[in-house]
Subunit: 411 residues, 2 copies
């Protein structure tokens, strides 16, 4: 986890903020599944100001259509999520997504319009409501502020790690909390990474500012992650605020707003980064930091181009300092800068090495480079020497296992 | 090979047209290479009207800088090409590329400005002129109109197949010829595929029309190929016309121009298609045909999006009819159409099957689909039901071997 000043990492994930409970159970949504949790619920004691961002893919999962509708008034109180089936591109997806919301509303005695819904898994197969209905009593019974981890487990598909995090900080003299759970491992590319992410907070904040912060931080975090360049149909990012921390509501972009936004960044950046680390088949987290760009946009485009290159990714799998491929990916990035000023360094816990200066290779020890690249967290440091702007993007290596997972996913 | 009316496929490749000779020898450019041809020469008896297209990558191989300069007057008479080293991003690349041209000019008694040069291989390593110099006498000695295949061999890197083709046709009552050789297997994405392609013809044609035809046909062929999304630093496509067929020079876009353009398409399309088939690690050629688009641009964008998707590519490696991934890739294509009208069929020599209609899955036999997808040439047929425009793109499956090749390439 990358640490920042002014925040403490704490346990509790999506339940760290006041008022939130979660649960996750085995519903058996995918035929034959009797061991993996696949149905999650996050619920709050009060109606929450809420914001969301969804995939830019024209193909949108039915849950997105329903959630968007339910979020029109800016409020929500619970989220129901299944894994094992994306509930997308099937005949009756919207009806099923609505039914999931109705079921949740009925069981929690809430309004259907205050329920959000998410699904992840295979596209184009009918989602059967029966196993969900059957599992619901247990799902509700297990709701607890201790069960973030179970919800986190239930939303995983090919994920190999739980992505769960929370921070504690102070606004207006009150202890505040912000935490989340996230899933995503393949079909991951902005906008956004294929992922579901659920963030909760108890900070009292105006609804428009909540949306604004979510959009800004998402652009710097999830939208800077790529595992395979495939933008999913079901990407959904939800942020709910219970307002129970007791702070005076944040109503303008003041110091308190800044603290809130930074807390949101701390959680979402680390969750997004873990998503890249847990990319399908990945053995390495690749972080590309671009400095010296004339604009932030240029920095972002270059950083994304590098971590998205199949050839760079395959080279790093082999711990091979094939910097020519990195320069190549910088060169085809759709932005304007002078390639002859570009420098590239590689670094990890084992040290740092310059491999390219002024757009050409420099002499370096292949052995030292190999040692640096053998670590499981690699930084590619690019300087465009063309200004003051920076960006960071996160990706992972391309491995045999990626192919294996995706050649066998449906079977 | 895809056949068209009005042309005969013939042997001879880059030497099929009147006036052209070629050769290819083992120079030992890559340390330790004593068995693979790595130096090629194509030369014409007369100065040729010539045109070229180069990579859009900001990082440009030194040979491109030199060739572009030498082509300023629109004429060339010979092309020298090495594999094993890209002569790119090294300290003295341009000087070496110039030296290769000087050497060729001296040996063939031509002007240095009439020599074009190409290189392919690892980026960022110094190219030593000595092995090239040493091999040159043999290279020139072996020049023959029978040796297109040797030149073709000499430009291959990770290629597993020779890509060589020629056609014969009639213009103005004269027998005309157009043929070429091409290499490219990885770091392949438009604009253009990483590839070197050398096309020769004996058709007499005005220089501006030569350029125009090359650009248009390239947009429909090499620019519609993607193996891994990485746009190389060294992509070069050369077209030389000896004008020795004896036809009256083509000076406007008349019927004869159309015949010439179609011949160029026949050769370049088939070479480009073979490039996709020979994608690094590929076991299958994937052809995506998009019909019913409102514009040709939309059709192209959608076709390219489908064949570029890592998830589609991995699914097809496993002969898995995971059409949801295809629809997903159609959905994130950056073009405007109604996803709810889209249909997708899959076909091969084994038959054809509908998998998606009106943007949703339809019932189909998984067994039949598997049989269709087990072939080594797969067609993905997309209809946007939104107009009259079409496009075709070519790609390949994503396999363990792709990762293996690219994780080990430098070592």
């Amino acid at each position: 986890m990358v640490k920042f000043d002014g925040y403490e990492f704490i346990d509790g994930g999506v339940c760290a903020a006041e008022g939130f409970k979660a649960s996750g159970v085995i519903a058996g949504i995918k035929a034959g599944n009797t061991t993996k949790r696949d149905l999650a619920l996050i619920a709050c004691d009060v109606r929450c100001k809420s914001a969301a961002l969804f995939t830019t893919n024209k193909v949108k999962g039915a849950p997105i259509i329903v959630s968007r509708e339910h979020l029109k008034d800016g409020y929500a109180q619970a989220i129901v999520v299944n894994s094992g089936n994306a509930n997308t591109c099937n005949a009756n997806g919207v009806a099923i997504a609505e039914e999931m919301c109705e079921l949740t509303a009925k069981m929690l005695k809430l309004s259907k319009e205050d329920i959000l819904v998410g699904s992840t898994g295979v596209i184009g197969q009918k989602l059967d409501i029966k196993p969900i209905k059957d599992a619901f009593p247990l799902l509700v019974k297990e709701l607890s502020d201790k069960n973030s981890a179970l919800a986190c487990e239930a939303i995983m598909t090919t994920d190999t790690r739980k992505k769960e995090l929370a921070v504690e900080f102070t606004i207006d003299g009150k202890k505040c909390h912000l935490g989340g759970i996230s899933k995503g491992s393949g079909m991951i590319n902005p906008n956004m990474a294929t992922m579901l992410a659920f963030i909760t907070t108890d900070v009292a904040i105006n609804g428009e500012l909540l949306k604004k912060a979510l959009r800004k931080v998402n652009d710097l975090t999830y939208n800077m992650v790529s595992v395979d360049g495939d933008t999913s149909t079901n990407d959904s990012l939800f942020l709910m605020s219970s307002g129970l921390a007791g702070n005076d509501e944040i109503i303008c972009e003041d110091k308190d707003y800044e603290i809130f936004e930074n807390a949101l960044y701390a959680v979402m950046m680390n969750l997004a980064r873990e998503t890249a680390r847990d990319g399908e088949g990945a053995t390495k987290l690749i972080e590309c930091i671009v400095n010296g760009a004339d604009t932030e946009k240029t920095a972002k485009i270059v950083a994304k181009s590098v971590i998205s290159s199949s050839l760079v990714k395959a080279a790093l799998f082999a711990s091979d300092a094939n910097w020519g491929r990195i320069l190549c990916a910088i060169g085809y990035a759709d932005a304007d800068f002078d390639i002859n000023k570009v420098s590239v360094d590689l670094s990890s816990a084992k040290g740092k090495i310059a491999v390219c200066k002024n757009g050409a290779g420099v002499a370096f020890s292949e052995e030292a480079a190999k040692e640096i690249l053998s670590e499981d967290e690699i930084k590619i440091l690019v300087d465009l020497h063309d200004g003051e702007n920076s960006a960071v993007a996160w990706g992972c290596d391309l491995t045999f296992e990626y192919v294996k997972i995706n050649a066998e996913y449906r079977t």
